[in-house]
């Protein structure tokens, strides 16, 4: 543990003040930008704008994706209005694109419309699974990076593909836990660990989160952030689930930083046996 300056601080009455051990700064940074929350939200599936807004506020998110094929930035009352009002950074995505060509075009239109060069790159293979098409994804990522975009690709939970995306120059990698909207959680935690282990850019667990424990697990596995939408927007009480996700992401992050105990086959008493009364 790093001994911090303020832990040695002394208050007015001369008593030593212990600093909050949780106060170590732990910023979440992508491409030089710091975000105050490790929960990235999506906006699809919300029953109403008001429900969405309440959920976004409850989630504490600072970065939220918007499908650029589904919104017109000039319209009053749109999801972009909600994000502007709540001072949440917009991350345009290329949802609904099947080819690199479509994805690159959509990203360029988004840059023009929103004035941001950030893009969550999504190139899906088919509508049934919504799984990423790895070949189109790499192709699109290369083109976008070359065009000066900050690219955050939604990818399979394949460590090799994740590494390739990083090598191309993506600002983060976003492996899926399971298919979009499925709520199946993290189906291959081992691969997520491998991706985390080798990544030099932030890893964002994207897609498949069903409930709070899934989000906590992602963070315990070492992901830098979690991106989710359906688990909140289609929950019975979206704002409440959003708050649950906020806590889960924080809890998982703290647990990761704290360092979990090794697993043992047999019990180990938490208090020592020595010195116990035998009377």
């Amino acid at each position: 543990m790093i001994q911090r300056e303020d832990e040695r601080r002394v208050n007015e009455t001369g008593t030593a003040v212990r600093a909050d051990p949780l106060a170590d700064s732990d910023p979440f940074v992508i491409a030089g930008e710091t975000f105050g929350s490790r929960l990235i939200m999506g906006t699809g599936g919300a029953p109403s704008m008001r429900t969405l807004e309440d959920a976004l506020v409850a989630s504490g998110t600072r970065l939220t994706t918007v499908a650029m094929r589904r919104v017109d930035p000039s319209v009053q009352g749109s999801v972009l209005d909600v994000l502007r009002r709540r001072d949440i950074t917009v991350l345009p995505n290329t949802a609904g694109c099947f080819t690199a060509g479509e994805a690159v075009l959509t990203a360029k239109l988004a840059r023009e419309a929103l004035g941001t060069s950030w893009v969550k790159l999504e190139v899906i293979a088919d509508e049934r699974t919504l799984l990423p098409d790895p070949i189109e994804l790499v192709d699109a990522a290369e083109q976008l990076v070359d065009n000066g975009f900050i690219v955050l690709p939604y990818t399979n939970d394949d460590p090799v593909l994740a590494r390739r995306l990083e090598q191309i120059g993506c600002a983060a990698v976003m492996p899926l836990g399971s298919p979009i909207g499925s709520g199946l959680g993290i189906r291959n935690p081992h691969n997520i660990e491998l991706i985390v282990e080798q990544a030099g850019v932030p890893v964002v667990l994207d897609a498949g989160i069903g409930t709070a424990s899934d989000a906590a697990l992602a963070m315990e596995l070492g992901c830098d952030a979690v991106l989710l939408a359906t688990a909140v927007t289609r929950a019975q009480a979206p704002a409440r689930m959003a708050a649950a996700m906020r806590h889960a992401v924080e809890a998982g992050r703290l647990a990761r930083l704290a360092g979990r105990i090794p697993k043992r086959r047999y019990a180990q008493a938490s208090s020592p046996w020595q010195g116990l009364s035998t009377a």
Partner: protein, 375 residues
């Protein structure tokens, strides 16, 4: 007392009719009455089928309006001699795969908690009710008393009723609301002439924010939500009741009419005032409809069109007096304009004559947005 109603869609017409019946001097202004969303709408009267978590109050309002429909239509048809194509019947809601069935089960349990029992159906039972359904349909729900109406016939009948009741129809576009001394006193049309009245009602749907002259924060944000709808024709009996379906996670409905028209809808797109009919929209509707009812590919293609639903921040209508004296709102009906026309006509005409908002719409007055941070 005189009143000017802006907008002659199904909502404005219902208000105009009921208000004129109550003895108000009514002028209704619209360049193209009974066009736009009212013209595109499929006309499902399905409060239960549209149920979503957190929208229980809206469900109650929908049921209240549905319960008024039979009498509303009977009176209207009697008065005008028009046929509105009204059908009061069960509808079936079916699931395409096991994920869709799980979604319907969840919906059914939610309905039951609200005291609205729905009958679960096996795939075979669904197909016994509607033999045109695909063998792959996994199961469904039977929803009682979720009928339908032909919105084009309904608005034609309402137009006749409005004229018969003595209301004046002005075929002009309203450009601004006239405000004097902190009170709405009428409207100005594109021709530059003013229609003055004691009270102004905005039944302007998705175009509410196109009106000039309103002080800020008087009208909550109403955004256009595009919907594309396909119309087919059949000469042979095809479906006996409305079929709603969930196909691989997306919702679709197929509404049969007695005259052989079959309406398939609808996309839901947040693209501003764009009403372009797209290849993708048409394809998605036909694809999902064909999954559920393979035989639709044999039917005659009649029409495809797109309309703009007026969406409020909470999907519910905004009904009653606004913060600006003399101004009443009747907008934001979103997916439920046709369904909610009877109750809207009743409560807004009552508010116009008595100044009181009936209990049934207490939860839907503009006040609920008063604390909203302006956009």
């Amino acid at each position: 007392m005189d009143v000017v109603i802006v907008g002659a869609g199904v909502i404005g017409l219902a208000i105009a009719w009921r208000s004129a019946q109550r003895g108000l001097d009514v002028t209704i202004v619209d360049p193209r009455p009974a066009s736009e969303a009212s013209y595109v709408a499929a006309g499902m009267l399905a409060p239960v089928g549209e149920l979503a978590y957190g929208e229980e109050e809206l469900l109650r309002l929908g049921i209240a309006s549905r319960d008024r429909y039979s009498a509303f239509v009977a009176e209207l048809e009697e008065l005008t001699g028009h046929d509105t194509g009204y059908r009061d019947e069960d509808t079936v809601q079916v699931a395409f795969d096991s994920d869709d069935l799980a979604f319907l089960d969840d919906l059914r349990r939610f309905q039951e908690t609200l005291g609205l029992p729905a009958t679960p159906l096996s795939g075979r039972e669904c197909r016994r009710l509607e033999p045109m359904l695909a063998p792959s349909v996994r199961g469904g729900l039977l929803a009682e008393r979720n009928g339908s109406i032909d919105p084009r016939r309904l608005t034609a009948a309402l137009l006749a009723a409005v004229e018969r009741a003595g209301a004046r129809l002005v075929r002009r576009r309203v450009t601004r609301v006239l405000v004097e001394a902190g009170r709405a006193v009428g409207v100005r049309t594109e021709a530059g002439d003013d229609v003055r009245a004691d009270q102004v009602v905005l039944a302007t749907g998705a175009w509410t924010h196109r009106l000039a002259g309103l002080p800020p924060d008087v009208v909550p944000v109403i955004r256009p939500v595009k919907g594309q709808v396909v119309r087919l024709r059949t000469r042979v009996p095809f479906l006996t009741r409305t079929v709603r379906g969930v196909v691989k996670g997306s919702s679709i409905y197929v509404v049969p009419r007695s005259d052989g028209e079959i309406v398939i809808g609808a996309t839901q797109e947040e693209l501003g005032y764009d009403t372009t009919v797209t290849a993708g929209g048409l394809w998605e509707l036909l694809r999902d409809a064909r999954e559920l009812i393979p035989g639709i590919t044999e039917l005659e293609f009649a029409e495809v069109c797109a309309g703009l639903r007026p969406g409020s921040p909470d999907n519910a209508p905004v009904l009653g007096p606004a913060a600006l004296p003399g101004l009443l709102l009747a907008t934001g009906h979103f997916r439920n304009g046709i369904l909610l026309a009877p109750v809207t006509g009743d409560v807004v005409s009552e508010a116009l004559t008595t100044g009181e908002v009936p209990d049934v719409v207490r939860a839907f007055t503009p006040e609920r947005f008063a604390k909203e941070i302006p956009a």
